[in-house]
Amino acid sequence: MSGAATSRNGAESAPLRFGLPSKGRLQEKTAEFLKAAGVTFERSAVDREYAGRLRGLDGVELVFLQAGEMPDRLMRGEIHLGVTGEDLIRERAGQWERRIMLLAPLHFGHADLIVAAPKCWIDVSTTDDLDDVAADFRERHGHPLRVATKYKRLSRAFFQERGVANYRLVDSQGATEGLVAAGAAEAIVDITSSGETLRANHLKILDDGLILKSQAHLCASFSAEWSDRALQALRALLDRIGDEGAPRGRAALTARLDAAALGRAEPALTRLGVRILRRPLRGFPGEARLDAPGDELGLAVEILTAAGAEAVSAETAADPAAKPSLFERFSERLGAGDL
């Protein structure tokens, strides 16, 4: 598999180029994440792109980049790995999936991309309303309804999907929330984490105005040239960070309870993705067989017990060979010529 990848390049020993956030909270959080995987990095005092050292993982060269630069570098294959927000990747390019794989969510850098309008627009609560207002906006006010954003691609795609027409995007390079009060726009598309800034600027999120729930991801580039050494470094890193995105497999559950109790527990179980394979006969307790997603096993057992089940037992389908690891999934797509 790595043969296919290395045939594209000559340098068998070229290191893995790892893009790390160059500053701030994103860098701190990335450091925490890597530390948990037994990897630490330090940046030398000289402020150059490649000035940094990684301890605990061989064959890696660090590149310090602003979060916004990361998507392009990954798209072009100038770095193999990078840490950046899903919002930035999706905004940067359509069909990004062909060039970038989101390897793992990192549980920081949470941000919702949303559509917000003035709170005083009591007649507007959905994107349908926004479309209605936009329809005769030019006639009333002499210019089209303006939406300020730096997420133009995602905004257009979202409005097109929702059927909002007759609006115009205006560029914003920061402090987007203030642009409505400043008279430069009628609505905004921006990221928000707590909604505090929106409230302070007298804006409200439309009821159906959530475009994307984003967080920081570890991302890999299919466009980069992967040497054997770089692939080895990736494998070592991925083996250590664990694999929460992987399908956990399913667990077989048996429990003793009556049909009515199972019926009561059923909605909660269904929400967890539990399937009921065999129900006890009506009227008296019997054996039920269920099948639960591996991650939800604990909760499923709890729900069954609370419903009055006895003799709850579980068996996970432990066949690790059957499920490809994160590294295997990545290298398979790389080898399949996803470029």
Binding site: C120, W121, D132
Partner: protein, 426 residues
Amino acid sequence: MLLETAVFDRLSASGLGRSAFAPQDYDGAALERLSAITDILMRIFGAEDAALVEPAILQPADILFDLYGEEIWERSFIIEDLEHGAWCLRPDFTAPVARSHLARAETGESARYRYCGPVFRRARGAGDGALQQLQAGVEVIDEADPATRDAEVFDLARQALDAAGCPPYDLVIGDLGLVFGLLDAVPMPDSWRARLRRHFWRPQRFSQLLRRLGGEAPSAGEASRMAFLKGFGALGEEDAARAISEMMALAETPQIGVRGSEEVAERFLRQAEDARAHPLPQASVDVIEAAVAVSGPADAALTRLKALAAEAKMDLSRQTTLFERRLEALSARGVEPSRLRFDAVFGRDLAYYDGFVFEMRPFPTKATPAPRRLGGGGRYDRLFQALGAERPVSGVGAALKPEAILAAIAAGDAAGAAAMDAGAAS
């Protein structure tokens, strides 16, 4: 470079290869064939002394925004800087020709134009063709006798394709006037009707809207808002206006933006008023759904639409008469209505058509499963209004794509040769 890559990605995802959208260079024999086709089209479009026009390739982008909104960014090549403003490589001829007609002609003057040149559009899917492609077309701007003009323009396109030697093709027609007439005849608040009209040419969006007006609430939030609005709508006008100002004062909501509290309150009250009509009666939803589902031979479709209108006790006679007269005019020109495929939801993918619409597509073959459209056209009376005409102006036009015709002829020849080979082999 990145731009090109992005376009390539989109097209690859839709099953088109790089060659399908790359503008083509022509020389030698291919150029001669292409010029010959273009000459034939332009000769036919020159009937009745249609004047040759050449709108500028760079058009002011603002005009396009008026016509299409932000969506045009996705489809057009826009050049923008602070000094020169925003300009757009013309994505079609109809709007620029209509614009220069308004600038040049006396009010109410009729005119005929023909044109030929490249247009520039980002392809969205198979059948759209190259980023740059030739178009040759005709526009007839005339108040008199729309049915006859419709048939005449359609026939010009047909004659031109035949004269150029184009192999048989699929024909589809629609009539937005008929569908809009139907929407006008169904009792409902004006704001709902405007919404449905605005989105008619986006079929998915249209049916979603219709279902929601019919009472399908996409979320609990929306259902409760509707209930709230209904309650509000039951208040008298004065009480409602006072309630609104009290509500806003209570929330200490400062006024921001250019929409004043009066405009907001007015629309809120209208919504509340409209909410009392919610949901649209099932019978109304049904008749709209039945009408947009009509497709088949044009004559049978007309019969079906008339029956639907009669059943719902609607007066669509003006629209159906126009449709009927158009079919008669086509028939007089040798176009058999039973051979025209009518599709009620066929509105082409441009917002400005509002009457008769048609399109010519090559039949797909194994070698070219998604052939480029040969051309099409339609009636666009509303376009002039959007461009700022002071009184109603009527226009209908057709545009053909010489390069697609050349490709269709080549594909036809190849299929013919293959059939001959197969015949010789057996």
